[in-house]
């Protein structure tokens, strides 16, 4: 299969495009918010960005292996609903960690369900995770019909204000994610992910356990969605069963502007992390730019579509020139 100029360019520099985007976003942000890099501002920004960063990493792994996970928002909602209803504002820390553990199991289970349908029953990833995402959103709404509930404020504060060595907690978590990815990537399993994403049939013929690899990526995505749900619950401290509904598209957008090809097999996790930070900065810019409240949804959505269109535009003009 011939690669488009955009794809071969990406194969060489996966995160470059994301970096350009990031530099632009930071520059604009600095004009509006000159103290962007000061400790407090940095921390308050990073803790807001972290849930999307985690979600984008999970999405990136699935997309790398040639799939997609539309159900992540639903999983985030379920986790938020579980924590907000079962722990409660007056809950003890032990109870919180107990349900954090349960939430992780729920995320892994939801991912395994997707993985089973897609890798074992061989259903189309998009429509399967769309349906399961709808199912998950229903379950979240069932657990928490009206917004409410929450987690103890001191646990919320733990997430919001912890700054080991003066750096935001988010930096350490991103560091752990990058280390884990660096390890996976250099392992046999990592090469399998790229092989399956490149061309599943060819990978199968060279004895790559395609079914198992596909299954595992959805489990990873489910796990990351659960972690993202835990992070966002600790960030906002309260429950809302619709909290994840807007996050799915953003996680895919983060991956796309992060230079990971939707067709799979090209890219990595660094780009999507940068993409998620860029998206967060764009939100910042919008809220600082004093846009009329009625226009914010439109501006937000238009920027998302523009970001999704950017790789295609580059590719289109690249083709024209050559």
């Amino acid at each position: 299969m011939r690669r488009s100029p955009w794809e071969s360019w990406l194969a060489k520099y996966p995160a470059l495009f994301a970096m350009i985007f990031l530099v632009i976003a930071i520059s604009v942000n600095l004009i509006l918010q000159p103290n962007l890099f000061e400790g407090d501002t940095l921390n308050s920004n990073m803790r807001v960005f972290l849930p999307m960063i985690i979600l984008a990493v999970g999405q990136a792994v699935v997309i790398l292996s040639g799939g997609i996970d539309i159900s992540v928002g639903g999983i985030v909602s379920i986790v938020n609903a579980i924590l907000a209803t079962r722990v409660g504002l007056e809950g003890s820390p032990e109870k919180m960690w107990q349900f954090v553990f349960i939430s992780i199991l729920v995320g892994v289970g939801a991912g395994a369900l997707n993985g089973f349908f897609i890798s074992v029953l061989r259903l189309q990833p998009i429509i399967t995770t769309y349906a399961s995402g709808f199912l998950f959103a229903g379950i979240a709404l069932f657990i928490l019909p009206q917004p409410g509930g929450g987690i103890p404020s001191d646990i919320s504060a733990l997430y919001r204000t912890t700054r080991p060595l003066g750096l935001p907690l988010a930096f350490y978590i991103i560091g752990v994610l990058l280390l884990a990815w660096w390890y996976i990537r250099s392992s046999r399993y990592g090469r399998f992910i790229y092989a399956v994403g490149g061309k599943a049939e060819a990978a199968y013929e060279t004895a790559v356990p395609v079914t198992l690899v596909q299954f595992s990526t959805y489990v990873i995505s489910g796990l990351m969605a659960a972690l993202s749900g835990i992070a966002i619950t600790m960030l906002v401290g309260s429950g809302n069963a619709e909290i994840g509904s807007q996050m799915t598209l953003n996680s895919i957008t983060a991956v796309v502007i992060g230079g990971t090809a939707m067709s799979g097999g090209i890219g990595g996790v660094v780009g999507p992390i940068i993409g998620a930070i860029t998206l967060g900065l764009i939100q910042n810019i919008i809220s600082f730019a004093n846009i009329d409240t009625w226009w914010t949804t439109f501006v937000n959505a238009s920027i998302i579509v523009a970001a999704l269109a950017a790789p295609g535009l580059v590719s289109l003009f690249g083709r024209r020139r050559s």
Partner: protein, 320 residues
């Protein structure tokens, strides 16, 4: 061994009838009263029209293949409903103009989807989901809290009330619409080419089909049909609100799947979608009769689609 098979549209129709008969057994169902049963069946059929028309556009893009889908349909329905509501503002002579605007606005949004999918190579799912957000943004700008308007008496008369022999106008509109859709899919070059690009884009292109144009046309038409759906919906409800169209989106995809149209494209029919729309409307109204909350409705719909995809949507095995 020859297996006994019934076509998916027929299976969907049988499912609809079974579901309807079962609904009579509910404590607050129609019981053994034939007149009430007929009235209720007519009402279900009337309610299915709106989902059926919205799912028509969905059928077209899904048949066109390459993971074609239109997730902006729900917000386009809301937008065209609001535009119709505002433009008509109770006057019969503005209805045709409003219908035209609903169709054109829908077509423009669909065309933009088509451009994103065809030229910018954005996955249809992601493109139309993004577009849905943009259209919702537009709705919020236009709506500005609330809009003033009114549907025209003639719309209520034609869509919501019985027209001839006690048959609601909406059902008659649907019958004509269904016939036109059948003609479009089965008796025109457009239909033939649509199935061709759904099966395999490369072979279609080599056989002289203009794939780019077909793709743009399919998405534009889908948008216009969603616009038409919004026009019908507002004629029925008589009121508009921001979340008017969104509840139709997921069922519209499920209706296409129930009707046996392959979600991977290239195979399907509008008859199937019509039967599917009736099934989905029945399920929704059954859940409403049983006083189930929104959460259960979502779980049932999500589970239904998962089940359907498991039945119809298997891809070929890796080992050949």
């Amino acid at each position: 061994m020859k297996k006994f098979r019934i076509s998916p549209p027929l299976a969907a129709l049988i499912l609809a009838i079974v579901l309807f008969l079962l609904s009579g057994l509910l404590p607050n169902g129609y019981g053994s009263d034939v007149d009430v049963a007929i009235a209720q069946a007519t009402n279900i059929l009337r309610l299915s029209v709106f989902l059926g028309v919205i799912a028509a556009g969905q059928t077209l893009v899904i048949i066109s293949g390459s993971e074609g889908i239109d997730l902006s349909a729900g917000s386009v329905v809301t937008l065209s409903a609001i535009l119709t509501y505002v433009m008509v503002s109770g006057q019969n002579d503005k209805v045709l103009l409003a219908l035209l605007v609903a169709l054109i606005v829908g077509a423009i949004i669909g065309f933009l989807n088509g451009v994103g999918v065809t030229f910018l190579k954005i996955s249809p799912f992601v493109m139309t989901l993004g577009m849905s957000g943009v259209v919702t943004g537009l709705i919020i700008i236009i709506n500005h809290g609330n809009v003033s308007g009114k549907v025209a008496p003639i719309m209520t008369q034609l869509i919501a009330r019985p027209l001839v022999f006690g048959i609601p106008g909406a059902i008659i509109i649907w019958a004509i619409f269904g016939t036109l859709m059948w003609l479009l899919l089965e008796r025109t070059t457009f239909g033939k080419n649509l199935f061709a690009i759904g099966v395999n884009r490369t072979t279609a292109k080599l056989s002289g089909v203009n794939v780019t144009w077909m793709n743009l046309a399919a998405y534009s038409l889908a948008g216009a049909l969603a616009g038409f759906g919004g026009f019908l919906v507002v004629g029925n409800t008589g009121v508009v609100f921001i979340a008017l169209g969104q509840p139709f989106l997921f069922p519209s995809i499920a209706a296409v799947a129930v009707g046996g149209t392959l979600l991977s494209g290239g195979k399907g029919s509008y008859w199937g979608t019509m039967a599917g729309a009736i099934v989905l409307t029945l399920i929704t109204s059954l859940l409403t009769t049983m006083q189930m909350p929104e959460s259960v409705r979502r779980m049932v719909l999500g589970g239904t689609l998962l089940l359907l995809v498991s039945i119809y949507g298997r891809q070929k095995a890796l080992r050949q």
